[in-house]
Each structure stands twice: as structure tokens, then as C-alpha cells.
Amino acid sequence: MTHNPDTPEPLSNLSALGAEPDMNLWELRLYVAGRTAKSVAALENLKKICDEHLAGRYQIEVVDLLVHPQLAKGDQIVAIPTLVRKLPEPIRKVIGDLSNTDRTLVGLQLRPAKS
């Protein structure tokens, strides 16, 4: 059962964009488990990367699994922290505290993988 009927509630809307769907909108979701060093670092690193590469066209929601453990199933979360690129499709996952910016960009396909 890969589909989860529960819809995650956005905890943090950093970018309040209009209702019209934008092909360029990046919808990102960061799964954390409490306020650990790793999750704080991940969120900070993510914001930095987004501001640099996706200024004005991204949306981040942070899901704390300690609060909403049932949400882990929907996006098949095993590792923490996990960043999920919901849009644009296809879904991409990046795990870790995003401290390696190059790998994060590759993972989010903001930069082609090095040969």
C-alpha cells in the first residue's frame, strides 16, 4: 500500500505562492524526527540551496514523524532526514543532512551528475 490516504499538512510554508499551478513550482517535503542536530542542519542547508537555486519558486513543508508517525508510510521514509521532491515529477529522494551541497543538487537534479 504505497498510497497514503492521509494528506500531510504543511507545517511551514516558506513561499506563499498563488493558487494557480506553476510548471516551475518546486514542491519539497522534508521529513525529520524531532529537533535533532541533523534535522536542524538539514532544514538550514535546504533553505540555503533553495534560495540560491530556486528563489521564489519553491515550497517546503517539514514533516515531523514524531508528531505524525503515520506519514512515514506514504513517502516510504526509512532514513531521517529525507528530502522528497514532490514536484516537478518524477519524485526524487535525498537523504542525509544535505551538508554535501553538490550531491544535494545532483539528487534534486538541479545539476547534472558528474561523469
Binding site: 500500500m1 504505497t2 521529513y31 524526527a33 541533523k38 542542519a41 538539514a42 542547508n45 514523524l65 514524531l66 508517525p69 503515520q70 512515514a72 508510510k73 516510504q76 521514509i77 526509512v78 532514513a79 531521517i80 532526514p81 529525507t82 519524485i91 526524487r92 529522494k93 535525498v94 537523504i95 542525509g96 543532512d97 544535505l98 551538508s99 554535501n100 550531491r103 544535494t104 545532483v106 539528487g107
Partner: protein, 588 residues
């Protein structure tokens, strides 16, 4: 649950166990898996790990009221539900009843980019959430080694696995973790080092195109357990392990005798038939009536109202029923009444152990008093000689311990030494009946004799064996100066003998009459001679009297003459006898 037991203070019964509910597994583990601890089940692909794990959960939920969580890393929940639906497990229904949660953890390495420090807290949270949702007591992780394919950082993974097993113990859930068998190690990624309480190894071997599944307890800390490899079976009811092991020879020998259904045969076996719980072997060449004899024993058991399990390896149930009807046995009636169960399979259908596991399962379920295996020889084909003997010994021990009378038939091949059981099981057999053909006078007749019968005086004679419309008849064979005769030659010889007897009787009668005649002739002759003799002796007596009279007269005459001559003495007297005799002869 704190189950921290220091080394050295481990006592066998100190470790609480969670029954698996799986046939036989609880017996060999002495009650189940260690409660509140993780157990590793490892084995190669397709050996039944997942099934064992899921049955553990399903039985736990249904029989022991212990809800369970199945975390699958390989198969989706739908696939799992479909896979086990054939075993009668309705996972969806159990999920609806909140007794089971299936959680499919999908890890796609190509979708995952590692960008820094991480841990597997997500998995812990998912598992913890599932456990809390239904109050699970049992957890399965299948196959957790898949994680090693999804994450690159081995060090993190190992640390997290160690934490996971610690965490599972702290949660107090009884867990099964499955692992893929590795080269020279129990699991490919060595996760056995994290699980120290109980390790089960499943194996799926193929020998001569027949596969056999086996289970072995590699480790079970703090509990006595069997160390053998136990064959197990996956069938329509799930998994069953064959717990028969070193039974020893402790079974109680019954004094009770049971009938074979053939009065003459019972008579041959010490007059009252074989002992209950003994092992009977009927061996013989093709077409000597082994199956018919075995079916008779089955029939007799049914007549007594005792359930009988008939394992046919050559004929289908309906064929057996039809053929036995020709000798007056209505096996299908018994089948309908539920007192007879016929299981017909080809021996090559599965491996030897699988057969035995299946038999064991049937026996424990149906509880027969008589088990018939027809024929053993085909059954042996499903395995190698040594294995076959060992397994058969286990089966016999098991049946004996249950006081079940076993009847095996065995085909001996023409030409070879008939009394040789090709599988060398003679020492396991209590009563051995040999059926053989005797070819004489252009016909083939069946004969049987008892090669051995432990603990009873048995007939040592060969009996002729007849299959009639009314069943089996045993007849004395003709043993005489002409040798052993059977069939029509026996009949001919018997009538010849009858004719000879009549002739002999007539001859005796004739002789007797002749003697009688002779006797009466002799007697008549004797009477005549006696009469003649008497007549002669009478005449003689008359003559004697006359002679006496005459001599008296002569004396008187002489005295008269002497007186007249005045003689003074008788000196010149000449005795008169010679004269008188002579004169008498002249007169006669």
C-alpha cells in the same frame, strides 16, 4: 520487558517462549521462539523464510491473540496477501480486525541520493507506530538485508541494525528477522552477529530432481533443542516440520492382537493375528497379491471401526477401490464413512522427507490405527538408499510410539533372491510375509509363507494363496514325494491320491474275504478229520475190550487145564501176550 539474563545463569525453562503454532516447530524448539527477543531465520531464496514468518504472525494473531506487524522490504502488501491466500490466510481480514499490519517498505537505490549524516529513525518510527496501533506482540522484518542494497553507508547501517535489535528487545516484541544465506556465512551481510538468541536455518536441497526442505536450529540460547535437520513441508495448510527425531526405542509393546481380516492368516500368526502397533511387511514379486492382502488388513481395521490411512503410491483411489471390489472389499464405502482415508500420490511427486512429513501430518490429523504404505519400494525411489533407510526408521519409530500398526508392501524383483529386502529394512520389520509364485504344470499360482513373526509361534508352512470373489483364501499346498504342488496340479494329485486310496481299500477288502473263506474251509476240513479220528478211536476201544475179554477167557482156560493136569506151579508158564498178540493180529 527486561530479560537481561547474565551468562551462566541461563536455565532451560527460564526463557519464556512464544508458540509459533506451526506444526512441529514448537516441538523441536521446546515451545516456540524466545519471547520478547528477535529470532533470525536465514536461508537461500525460495526456502520458505517469508512463509514461516507470516505463518508465525497469522497463527499468533488467530490462535494466541498476539497481534503482529509484518514489515516487508521485498514484497508489497498485496503480493504478500496473494501469496499466502492459497494457504488459507486472509491477511486483509486480519488487517481489518486490527490483528495484523502489513507495512511494505520500498527502497529504491536509484531514487536515493545520500548527502550527509543520516540514520534509520524513519523505519523505527514506522515500526513503532504500527506496533502501537494494534498493540502488536510479534514483529517480522522480511528481509532486512535488503537495506544493505539501498544504503551505501555500511557503518551507519550496521550501527542502526544493532540499535534496531536492541530496540526490538526493549519493546518486548517477539520478532523474526529473515536473512539471505551467504557464502560460508549464515547471512549475506552477517546480520547473525546482531541476533544471538535464536537462529533457524532453512534449506532447500534438490537431489535427483527432487527437492526437500529442511530446517535446522543453529542456535537457541538458553534452551535445549534438537540439533538435527528436520524436513519440513509447505502445503495447503502452511508449514509443517517433521519433529520425528531420535525417538529411541522406548515405545511400549502392546499385548493386543489384531486380525488381518483373513482367518487362516491369523491362524498362521500364532492363532490370533499380529500384535497391535507392530510393523508388517508384505513382500513379493509383481502380481502376487500384495495390495489385495494389504487392502484386507485395511478392511479389517475399518470393520473394527478403527480409522485406517492408506497411502497408495501406485494406484489412484478409485482404481484401488475398483480393483478391491473384485475380491469383495468395498473400500469406497469405508471412505464415505470416513473411517478410511486413501491418499494417492506419485512417489516422485516430492522428496522422501516431504513424503514423510506429509504422512506425519496425515497421521497426526486423522489419527489412524492402521497405516498402509503401498508400495514401499516406489516410495524409496524418491530418495537415496541410506536416506530412505534412515527416514523409514523414523517413520516406523513414530508409528510404533503411537501404537499404530503399519503395513508396508514391497516389490521384489524376479530373479533376485526373494528373501532379500532391497532396502535392508528387515531388522525393522516385526512380521514379514512373503508372497511368491510357484510355476508348475504350465500355470502360475500364488503362495505365501511367513518369513518371520516376532514374539509369536507362527506357521512355517507354505500356504496357497487364492484371490476369490469373496476375498482371500489360504489353502494348504500339497507337499508329498512329488514336491510342492499347487493349483490344478495339486487338485490332480489330490484326486489321484483319492483314487489310489479307494483301490487300496478294495484290495484289502478282497484279501480279507479270501482269508475268511480259507478259514472256513480249513475249519470244515478240521471237523471232518476230527469225526474220522473219533470214529477210529471208538473202533480201537471196542477192539481193546474184545481183546481183554479174550485174554481173560484164555487165563481161565489155562487154569482149568492146569488144575486138570495137577500142576504144582506156574514155572513153565510162557507169557501169553506175544502169542495172543500174534494170534489176535491174525484174527484181525
Amino acid at each position: 520487558m527486561s530479560l537481561v539474563i547474565k551468562n551462566g545463569s541461563l536455565v532451560g525453562h527460564a526463557l519464556p517462549k512464544a508458540p509459533t503454532g506451526i506444526d512441529g516447530l514448537d516441538e523441536i524448539t521446546g515451545g516456540g521462539l524466545p519471547r520478547g527477543r528477535p529470532t533470525l531465520v536465514c536461508g537461500a531464496a525460495g526456502c520458505g523464510k517469508t512463509l514461516l514468518a507470516i505463518e508465525f504472525l497469522v497463527r499468533g494473531a488467530m490462535e494466541f491473540d498476539e497481534p503482529g506487524v509484518f514489515m516487508s522490504f521485498e514484497e508489497t502488501s498485496e503480493e504478500l496477501a496473494q501469496n499466502v491466500a492459497s494457504l488459507g490466510f486472509d491477511l486483509d481480514e486480519l488487517e481489518r480486525q486490527r490483528k495484523l499490519i502489513l507495512d511494505y517498505v520500498h527502497i529504491e537505490p536509484s531514487e536515493i541520493e545520500e548527502t550527509g549524516a543520516y540514520d534509520l529513525e524513519g523505519m523505527f518510527i514506522r515500526l513503532g507506530h504500527s506496533i502501537d496501533t494494534i498493540g502488536a506482540k510479534r514483529v517480522v522484518l522480511d528481509t532486512i538485508e535488503t537495506l544493505f542494497g539501498g544504503f551505501k553507508d555500511g557503518a551507519v547501517l550496521r550501527a542502526e541494525l544493532r540499535r534496531l535489535f536492541r530496540w526490538l528487545k526493549d519493546r518486548g516484541v517477539t520478532a523474526i528477522i529473515t536473512g539471505e544465506r551467504g557464502e560460508g556465512t549464515l547471512t549475506r551481510h552477517g546480520i547473525e552477529e546482531y541476533v544471538s538468541d535464536c537462529v533457524l536455518l532453512l534449506d532447500h536441497r534438490v537431489a535427483e530432481q527432487l527437492s526437500t526442505r529442511r530446517l535446522r536450529i543453529v542456535k537457541y540460547r538458553g534452551a535445549a533443542h534438537g540439533t538435527n535437520e528436520y524436513p519440513f513441508l509447505i502445503d495447503s495448510d502452511g508449514l509443517s516440520v517433521l519433529p520425528i527425531t531420535s525417538m529411541g526405542l522406548e515405545h511400549v509393546a502392546s499385548e493386543e492382537r489384531i486380525s488381518t481380516g483373513i482367518p487362516r492368516l491369523d491362524a498362521m500368526l500364532g492363532g490370533r493375528g499380529p500384535y497391535r502397533g507392530s510393523t508388517l511387511l508384505i513382500s513379493g514379486t509383481a502380481g502376487t497379491g500384495k495390495t489385495s492382502l494389504a487392502a484386507n488388513v485395511a478392511n479389517a481395521s475399518c470393520v473394527r471401526g478403527e480409522p485406517c490411512l492408506y497411502l497408495a503410491f501406485e494406484e489412484s483411489e478409485s482404481q484401488l477401490a475398483r480393483n478391491m471390489r473384485s475380491i469383495g472389499l468395498n473400500l469406497d464405502t469405508w471412505s464415505k464413512q470416513g473411517v478410511l482415508r486413501v491418499i494417492a500420490t506419485r512417489p516422485t511427486f516430492q522428496g522422501l522427507e516431504a513424503h514423510l512429513t506429509a504422512i506425519h501430518k496425515q497421521v497426526s490429523e486423522f489419527k489412524p490405527r492402521v497405516v498402509i504404505l503401498d508400495p514401499l519400494t516406489n516410495f524409496i525411489k524418491a530418495g537415496r538408499q541410506v536416506e530412505a533407510e534412515a527416514m523409514l526408521m523414523r517413520l516406523i519409530d513414530y508409528l510404533k510410539a503411537e501404537q499404530i500398526t503399519a503395513v508396508f508392501t514391497s516389490l521384489t524383483h524376479g530373479g533376485s533372491f526373494l528373501e532379500q529386502s532391497e532396502i535392508g529394512i528387515s531388522s525393522l520389520i516385526d512380521v514379514w510375509m512373503m508372497l511368491r509364485d510357484i510355476e508348475l504344470g504350465g500355470e502360475r499360482n500364488r503362495a505365501m509363507y511367513i518369513l518371520k513373526a516376532r514374539g509369536m509361534a507362527h506357521a512355517n508352512q507354505i500356504r496357497e494363496f487364492h484371490l476369490t470373489d469373496d476375498g482371500i483364501e489360504l489353502k494348504n499346498v500339497y507337499v508329498g514325494p512329488e514336491g510342492v504342488l499347487t493349483g490344478s496340479m495339486r487338485l490332480a494329485q489330490e484326486s489321484r491320491e483319492r483314487a489310489a486310496t479307494v483301490t487300496r481299500k478294495q484290495e484289502v477288502e478282497r484279501r480279507r474275504r479270501e482269508l475268511e473263506r480259507k478259514r472256513s474251509a480249513l475249519e470244515a476240513q478240521m471237523a471232518m478229520q476230527r469225526a474220522q479220528f473219533e470214529a477210529e478211536s471208538e473202533e480201537l476201544a471196542l477192539l481193546l475190550r474184545q481183546e481183554e475179554d479174550a485174554s481173560e477167557r484164555l487165563d481161565l482156560d489155562r487154569q482149568g487145564m492146569a488144575e486138570s493136569r495137577q500142576a504144582d506151579g506156574p514155572s513153565e508158564y510162557v507169557p501169553p501176550t506175544s502169542h495172543s498178540k500174534g494170534s489176535k493180529g491174525e484174527r484181525a
